[in-house]
Symmetry: C2
Subunit: 231 residues, 2 copies
């Protein structure tokens, strides 16, 4: 691992707890607005359409659009099951919840340790404005923000991993992709990146077993990753 | 100015002292290498070709290439006047000097103050890897790095100012461009951005008078800009 100079992180689920955060944020907001809804169902329905919505862009069925634009379309599809008669400002507030996600408890301390020795950055399907606002909200100490939006390709397209490598002026082998998702890491590995897996058993609410794969590092969480990377 | 949410900074000359840094850095390295050269002449010759070299790309005479690739070409053109018989590693070391530029004394304290209230980012013709390495070297606390490289257009092309606005999901009027160069600010203003000018009388070594222009803020330096922006 001596040649690794930068670590790219998947964000949704890996660094931040999208499900718990959406439920907490929208429950509090909904109460203040007098809105009753099953926010857990909304979160799960929304996330359930996440990959399909990006695949519509990846396959060319939809023109390029960034994640917040995609999420707004998906939200309109899934909202009727949870809530009716929302105004545009309310829908916008809900759509912007992804900017307000909270980190897993180990994320900020782990990233801060890694930052002392490596350049750390996002490599996320979230758009730049979303990731920048989230960094401010969650105090994530990124050196750089790389987003599918800059490459006009969603992960796991190789253009994302190799695009970030090119912008960093690093060889793929000098970069490590870190994520709680095997498919992301397998795609990064196929592009020549180093890989680090850590599980997030509670990402989808109900505890699940997650087994790693044939990756360079298997860690318990981001603090453990920092320890294994000598920080 | 109440609507400004983000401040974009020109970097070379505005935030960092390219001329003083190049002379200091290469003088020290040259001594260690046993190389005698007039480093001030090298810095001035190199910078003298800066705008022309980007204009070759802007006009389509050269295909898109990032600033470090352009700088390497320019360096080969101007080196013979200062130094002969350098090896490729030595040329590379010289070309990477832009990653090691030092900030003007007010830059880090001013940016740190502005960061408490605004999102702060580069909008530079430097490439991403250069700007990221410089941020680490000079401890520049950017929230984001925007570079001509991401837009495949050099300033003052409007694609740079408007591209950054789009990635930030902000209207041009919610963004302020801050620079020590009138031409950069005039181009930003034409795109609808707010503008802040501060002089760098010693940018080119010999003290010069710099008058501002019809910009929203005229500041003495970045600390004064922070004060005027309420930080």
């Amino acid at each position: 691992m001596g040649e690794v100079k930068a670590i790219l992180f998947d964000v949704f689920g890996s660094v931040v707890d999208w499900r718990g955060s959406i439920i907490r944020d929208l429950s509090a907001w909904g109460s203040a607005q007098g809105l009753q809804a099953d926010w857990a169902t909304l979160a799960d329905d929304w996330r359930g359409k996440y990959r399909d919505s990006m695949n519509r862009v990846r396959s060319g069925k939809l023109p390029w659009m960034n994640l917040e634009n995609l999420n707004a379309i998906t939200l309109d599809e899934i909202l009727p099951r949870s809530l009716a008669n929302l105004g545009p400002d309310q829908k916008h507030h809900i759509n912007m919840v992804w900017r307000r996600l909270d980190p897993w408890p180990d994320a900020v301390p782990g990233l801060t340790r890694l930052k002392s020795r490596y350049r750390i950055a996002t490599l996320s399907n979230g758009n730049v404005a979303l990731l920048a606002a989230m960094a401010e909200h969650a105090r994530l100490p990124w050196d750089m923000i790389f987003s599918a939006e800059q490459f006009r390709h969603y992960k796991p397209d190789p253009e994302t991993y190799l695009g970030a490598a090119k912008l960093m002026d690093l060889a793929p082998g000098e970069i490590m992709m870190a994520a709680a998702h095997v498919s992301d890491l397998e795609a990064a590995k196929a592009c020549g990146l180093r890989t680090a897996f850590f599980p997030r058993p509670l990402e989808f609410g109900v505890a699940r077993e997650q087994s790693g794969g044939d990756f360079d590092i298997l860690a318990k969480d981001i603090e453990d990753l920092a320890a294994q990377m000598g920080c």
